[in-house]
């Protein structure tokens, strides 16, 4: 038995404790043993994961990994240098600790361990990243639909080599300019609603038609320089291009920008593909972190109950865990939005509670969940939701009370803020609805689509911003238009459509040069 049982959390008195290790220094053998143990417990709960690759790295390498958003191979760009510098600075001054882990969605799933961490932290990271995140990547429908875990590493290598080659051939500056513009439009480079359909006959035909339409648009323009004929070619042409508004701006540019060279199209495509690859992560932050946190907590506690961990280990682990899941109230000085770890962890823990020991309230709110098998219910929740729908579906009144959540309305037509709902019977649904809305990327980011191209005139591109709750575009718009114009090569306009359907021009920009 440990000497410090007096301060330990109440532990079930298992017959004999056989801790895996006592000290806090890690060795490769110990990490391996812990990994085996955690894998065994994870399998017991049915966590399905990609194979793991656990890499031990130094803090400097961690900063490297940080600044390239965790991508193990990345192309060169100044913005990564900027992130590197700022991370390095704040790390050196002790303003921030580095994240204990970075994990990326690939197969094998790569998790980084920092060499400075104690053994407890390494075990925590293994449980969190290599089993928590990993199973989420493998199970969640967004990742399944949108990302190709097997292919991503190869693709990143391809991207880096291709861009390096372009730099040699066309000059670093030209490539950098192009990447700047693409990065700026990254959030408009994803398909939100469309699914990547399996190749089918219909699809093939549609593609072909698209290619033809593209050729047509080029050829028609040539005709324009010929002497005018009797019949106006415009009359015979389809009325609009594109026929329907396009949400994926980078895709549209890749396929239709008149002046891009093939290598430029390929780079646009690379940035677009990477944006698409990270899109599910942005939509599942709460769930993903919540799921991983829930599982490191559950797995390590389970090991402790089996007597495989020392009390000292648990104290260190719990200290770190509680730091991660702390949610400061809105009036705290260091309040910085809802903590996705805190909210996610609380929701999954609460789901388990509802399954195992539901109250009357839970029975009313979640009749199918109450009393069901919690492992199955959680697995279902993990697989089939994203943040928005997950919260809309599962945020319980108890959690709303625990977090003391309340909804405010900030309307610029009103000189005061109004409290719309609080954590009471009348407010639960409204609060839950508002919070779910908050995680809807479609509301958070301006909804901007490609509306029209003046194929026969000046070839200008018109973007249309559909306003949500009358919210206008920010001050970066004109700069953003310059980026769009640089890619498009002809004038670009943007207009806003308000809720009554009135169209207001916002800005326009001619291409450089």
């Amino acid at each position: 038995m440990e000497p410090d049982t007096a301060i330990a959390p109440p532990a079930p008195q298992t017959p004999a404790r056989q801790p895996i290790s006592e000290g806090s220094e890690w060795t490769f053998e110990l990490i391996d043993t812990y990994d085996r143990e955690i894998a065994r417990v994870a399998a017991h709960y049915g966590l399905d994961t990609y194979p793991n690759q656990i890499e031990v790295i130094s803090s400097e390498q961690m900063i490297d990994a940080y600044s390239s958003v965790g991508m193990p191979v990345g192309y060169h760009h100044w913005s990564y240098g900027k992130h590197f510098l700022s991370t390095q600075k704040s790390y050196k001054r002790g303003q921030m600790g580095l994240a204990y882990e970075i994990v990326i969605n690939s197969s094998p799933c790569i998790a980084y361990l920092m060499e400075e961490n104690t053994l407890t932290m390494q075990a925590l990271v293994i449980a969190h990243a290599a089993y928590g995140h990993n199973s989420f990547f493998k199970g969640n429908y967004l990742f399944r639909t949108w990302t190709d875990a097997e292919g991503i590493l190869d693709y990143l290598v391809f991207a880096r080599n291709f861009i390096a080659e372009c730099e040699q051939r066309h000059g670093e500056e030209a490539v950098e300019e192009l990447l700047d513009s693409c990065h700026a439009l990254m959030s408009l480079g994803v398909d939100r609603y469309k699914r990547p359909a399996r190749l089918s006959m219909a699809k093939e035909q549609a593609r072909q038609a698209e290619r033809e339409a593209y050729l047509q648009s080029q050829v028609n323009d040539l005709w324009r320089t010929l002497p005018t004929r009797q019949e106006d070619p415009r009359a015979s042409q389809a009325a609009r291009f594109p026929a329907e508004p396009q949400e994926n701006l980078l895709y549209f540019i890749e396929k239709h920008a008149p002046r891009l060279e093939p290598w430029q199209r390929e780079i646009v495509r690379i940035v677009r593909k990477i944006a698409q690859y990270f899109y599910p992560q942005r939509q599942t932050q709460v769930m993903n972190e919540g799921w991983a946190t829930f599982w490191h907590y559950t797995l390590l506690n389970r090991l402790y109950e089996e007597g495989r961990l020392t009390d000292g280990f648990m104290m260190e682990f719990l200290q770190s865990h509680t730091n991660v899941v702390y949610q400061p109230p809105y009036h705290a000085r260091f309040y910085n939005g809802l903590n996705p770890y805190a909210l996610g962890f609380a929701m999954f823990t609460d789901l388990r509670r509802i399954c195992e020991s539901p109250s009357d309230e839970d029975r009313r709110w979640f009749p199918e969940l109450a009393g069901s098998d919690w492992v199955k219910s959680l697995d279902f929740a993990m697989r089939n939701f994203k943040d928005e729908s997950f919260i809309a579906q599962y945020l319980s009144p108890k959690l709303i009370r625990d977090f003391k959540l309340f909804a405010m309305i900030d309307d610029d037509r009103d000189d005061k803020l109004e409290v719309a709902a609080i954590h009471d019977d009348a407010g639960y649904r409204a609060v839950r609805q508002q919070l779910a809305e908050h995680y809807n990327l479609g509301n958070r980011e301006p909804n901007i689509q490609v509306y029209a191209v003046d194929v026969f005139g000046d070839r200008s591109l018109t973007l249309r911003h559909t306003m949500h709750d009358r919210r206008p575009l920010g001050e970066s718009t004109s700069e953003m238009l310059r980026h769009v114009a640089r890619l498009w090569g002809y004038p670009v306009r943007i207009e806003s459509v308000d809720e009554d359907g009135a169209v207001l021009p916002v800005d326009e920009c001619a291409p450089p040069g």
Binding site: Q61, W78, K82, F84, E176, F403, R471, P472, S476
Partner: protein, 420 residues
Amino acid sequence: MSQLVDRRLSGKNRSAVNRQRFLRRFKAQIRKAAREAVSGRKVTDLERGEKISIPSKDLSEPIFHHGPGGRRNIVLPGNREFVSGDRIDRPEGQGGGGGSGGSPDGEGMDDFVFELSREEFMDYFFQDLALPDLVKKQLAAVPEVKKARAGFVSQGNPSNLHVVRSMKQAIGRRLAMAAAPRDALREAEGALAELEAQGRGASAEADALREDIAALKARIAAVPFLDTWDLRYANRVDQPTPSSQAVMFCLLDVSGSMDENRKSIAKRFFMLLYLFLTKSYERIDVVFIRHHTVAREVEEEEFFSSRESGGTVVSSALELMHEIILARYPSANWNIYAAQASDGDNWDDDSPRCRELLIQKILPLVQYFAYVEIEAEEPQSLWHHYAQVKAMSPRFAMQRILTLEDIYPVFRELFQKKAA
């Protein structure tokens, strides 16, 4: 099963290229910041990196985002006193909540701060001065070193193996390692001799002793003659080669006509000379002399800061310099360099006197005297007299400076001498 990989030794500095890209892209801003940093530094303080800060709005990566206005729904945790329907005044600093909303009005936008390494900083420092590349290299290079003996170490490369020292070490070790068996041997031999004296030389007891003795002898013989523990290597450490000392006189005109801009050019002029000197001398003293109608030796802070009105008598400074040399820096022990910066104004009667002072008293003592006339519309009286000095002495250099690029030619000759 998981695979465990140790990556600590591979792929360091993966961001080095990205860092370089970043520096290149914001060259203009960094250069500006470096320039400001120079004016905040001491003349002798060039051997470290610099913290550079750039307004972060200059290096933002824009995205489309919502501006202020419209209707927002915000959900916050930690409710204390509100009930639904409450109406509250807007807080001052925008409640946040909108996420990407940010604070476009610029408040709370910190500067982006990062460290330039010494080399990088020097790069920016040189850029303004239009130095030839070769010179830059010489200046920025780490000073040459020569190896000096520094005792012995237990690890080193074979060519540094010190045989005598190693053998000495081996003797001591052999003695120590054989000490115990040797004592036992002596005892056993004594016992055996005693037995034989008693005539029991053939007994089983004696045989056992003989066996022991054989074993002990074998053990002593088995102590290695030379072991890796014994090896000692001559230790050599790097010592910077320049071993002489120099003193640098900075002479600055602080009369009313020297404004901030002129002083800043003068400062770089002094800094550059200092840099040149650090490459050749181990120890450098810097003496600051400012003058208007009278000259005074001052600390660096005072040297550049205040400005006085009134006329200019350059010879006062030269006289003071001469006095200081005689009093504190005997030219037999010191290499003396002087840099004078002025806008060229001088009392008409004084300029010939300056010429005489230089030729007769100062130039025989100094290695090099560099004079710059800063931003003077046309050569002033001092200039004409100095031109005569230049014609007479190769140790004298002068230059009119309108921009920073003009500073370097003053030192060109100094360098040619070095190269020869």
